[in-house]
């Protein structure tokens, strides 16, 4: 499990740093690939654009923020679920939004888990740790 990559799609650099730190602190040693927005993430997943021709196995989990420039998280989720190569990858939405509409749409689009980012930093760290421990160490994916 530890050799599978984790795809983190997050535009806020501070949140990126804090998430990575939290995972590291909890001894989650998976390689974390960070994409700054949805467009980049999809190019990475489907090996298009700057990632043209790169062959690699699917990430073990996609940590997805919703509010991002260009393509937002829900649109990314939709595309991921539409493609047979990627539709089975677990997606965890990690977002500051607690809007009922966002939650509903996410589940409609087939998200595996919806985790609001706590405003308190300590809770944020703990939440990320829990997510990481579960999805990266406990959960099994299709190989």
């Amino acid at each position: 499990m530890t050799d599978h990559t984790v795809l983190l799609v997050e535009d806020n650099p501070d949140d990126q740093a804090l998430i990575l730190r939290s995972l590291k602190k909890n001894n989650i040693s998976n390689k974390v690939v960070v994409m700054n927005d949805g467009v980049e993430a999809l190019e990475y997943l489907f090996s298009t654009g700057p990632f043209e021709g790169e062959e690699r196995p699917s990430p073990i989990v996609i940590l997805l923020d919703i509010s991002m420039p260009r393509l937002n998280g829900l649109q990314v989720l939709e595309r991921v679920r539409a493609d047979p190569d990627t539709k089975n990858i677990p997606v965890v939405i990690l977002t500051s939004s607690t809007e009922e509409q966002d939650i509903a749409t996410s589940y409609d689009l087939g998200v595996n888990s919806y985790v609001p980012k706590p405003v308190d930093f300590e809770e944020f760290t703990a939440a990320v740790a829990r997510v990481g421990l579960y999805w990266m160490l406990t959960n099994r994916v299709k190989t």
């Binding site: 501070d14 949140d15 804090l18 930093f121």
Partner: protein, 500 residues
């Protein structure tokens, strides 16, 4: 011709006919009187002649002086009768001609007889013969008169029946006349008038049902015609009034519609503004929180990952930064909550403050198990207001009481209601640290605090929120306190209904 004139004519005719009738009746009566007299005369004559006849027979049989005297009297009577003036009874005169002659004859015969009886010197046989001839003459005359008198009686009777017939005919005629007048009055006057009155009624009914367009046929120049014309005038005025009414009604409706439109527009604007405000507040708080998280996050990270490289001062600075950002987070939350309270719709339900207070006290003691606070909640504290907002109020007030009794060993919080008063005054009392009444006016202002952050944590928003909630319910909130001797927060939830 006016109806009045027509009625007067009718009455005139009626009077004429009645007068004629009365005249006829009077005439009939006099005729009947005449006939009666005639009958009586005939009867009297008949009776007198019967008597004379009988006396004549007696005379022949026994010509005593008494009988002769009686015969003479009777004959006188008969003569009086037959010689009566019967000019008033036409036909009677000719009938009495014969009886008159015979009466005269009878008188002469009697005189002759008297002479013979007086003359006793004459020869009896001659006398007897003469007397016999006289007697037979008297008898004959008497009988003839009698039979004539019967004719007279017959005559008078037929006269009577003729008169009676005439009277009956006259009475019938009179009645007929009256009936004719009555019918004529009815058909010529009454029925026409009635029909026109019915027309008038129908017209009025039509108008009464709202038909003001049809003009009213104006009839002749009499009272009913006048009435029709008056009704038409009334109709025109009603029409005018109704038109004016319709106009002003329409104006009212139009302005009402306009107002409603405006209200709808305003409501839409308000709702939109509220939504915008909500979205704004939400995004502001989110956008403000994100950097806060970064700030406190990296501070913590520094503290955790580089604690060996940090000296006390550095650690202290980092701690202050973290604390400051936590405080900012609280302020953002409180401001968001306060703005939400202002915008939320108030629903008026029956809210049990006792239950809310007891639940919250329970929650507080669970979250803060080291503290032993005696919470005394009066039973049956029912209030009319918004459940969510009142819950927030009680939580605020009890939370404050909990906080400010922290330093008291025998901390007591009391929740209740003042005994009398309309509206009901609720209170939350504690025996905590209290506050200086000199600054009481600042108590409910947002972000104003009467204790330093070092003494007691807090943003100063709590009571401002409570005040907002109470004011939105139309109530009042105030406080009373002694330093170190606790504080009491009073509030009402409405203006009351004027009854005590």
């Amino acid at each position: 011709m006016t109806i009045k004139t027509q009625s007067q004519i009718a009455i005139g005719f009626g009077l004429i006919v009645c007068s004629l009738g009365i005249a006829a009746l009077i005439w009939a009566y006099s005729q009947l009187q005449t006939v009666e007299a005639e009958s009586k005369f005939a009867d009297d004559l008949n009776t007198a002649l019967v008597r004379l006849d009988r006396l004549s027979s007696e005379l022949v049989l026994r010509p005593s002086p008494r009988v002769r005297y009686q015969w003479r009297i009777q004959h006188k009577r008969v003569s009086e009768l037959v010689h009566r003036d019967v000019e008033s009874w036409p036909g009677m005169t000719s009938l009495l001609e014969e009886p008159r002659r015979r009466a005269n004859t009878l008188g002469r015969l009697f005189e002759n007889m008297e002479k013979i009886w007086g003359d006793t010197a004459k020869d009896d046989q001659q006398n007897d013969e003469a007397i016999r001839i006289l007697f037979s003459g008297i008898l004959a005359q008497s009988a003839a008169m009698h039979s004539k008198s019967l004719r007279v009686q017959q005559f008078s009777r037929s006269d009577a029946s003729i008169i009676r017939g005439q009277v009956a005919a006259l009475v019938a005629l009179a009645f007929l006349g009256i009936i004719v007048i009555m019918f004529a009055t009815y058909f010529l006057l009454g029925r026409r008038v009635l029909r026109r009155v019915l027309d008038l009624r129908a017209t009025l009914r039509r108008i009464g049902h709202g038909n003001l367009e049809e003009s009213v046929p104006s009839a002749e120049a009499d009272e009913i015609g006048d009435a029709f014309r008056d009704v038409d005038t009334m109709r025109l005025e009603l029409l005018e009034t109704s038109k004016n009414l319709k106009k002003s009604n329409k104006k009212l409706k139009d302005s009402k519609k306009l107002l409603e439109q405006r209200v709808a527009e305003r409501t839409t604007e308000l709702t939109a503004a509220n939504k915008e405000l909500e979205a704004f507040a939400y995004s502001v708080s989110h956008d403000l929180r994100a950097p806060l998280r970064s700030m406190s996050g990296f501070c913590m990270a520094l503290q955790e990952d580089y604690s060996e490289s940090l000296d006390d001062d550095a650690r202290d600075y980092l701690f202050r930064i973290t604390r400051a950002s936590k405080r900012m987070g609280l302020l953002i939350d409180d401001m968001l909550a306060l703005s939400r309270i202002t915008r939320k719709e108030i629903t008026r339900d029956s809210v049990d403050l006792t239950v809310i207070a007891e639940e919250f006290a329970d929650t507080q003691s669970r979250m803060d198990p080291e503290r032993h606070v005696k919470v005394d909640v009066a039973q049956g504290l029912l209030a009319e207001g918004d459940e969510a907002l009142l819950r927030a109020t009680m939580q605020n007030l009890i939370g404050n009481a909990w906080k400010f009794t922290r330093d008291k060993k025998d901390a007591t919080i009391e929740v209740g209601r003042l005994p009398d008063g309309n509206p009901t005054t609720f209170f939350v009392r504690d025996n905590g640290v209290g506050f200086d009444m000199a600054y009481a006016d600042k108590l409910f202002a947002p972000f104003q605090r009467l204790h330093s952050e070092k003494e007691f944590e807090g943003t100063g928003i709590g009571l401002a929120s409570v005040a907002r909630i109470i004011h939105r319910h139309g109530g009042k909130v105030w406080a009373d306190s002694q330093i170190n001797d606790g504080a009491t927060l009073y509030f009402t939830l409405g203006p009351g209904d004027g009854t005590a």
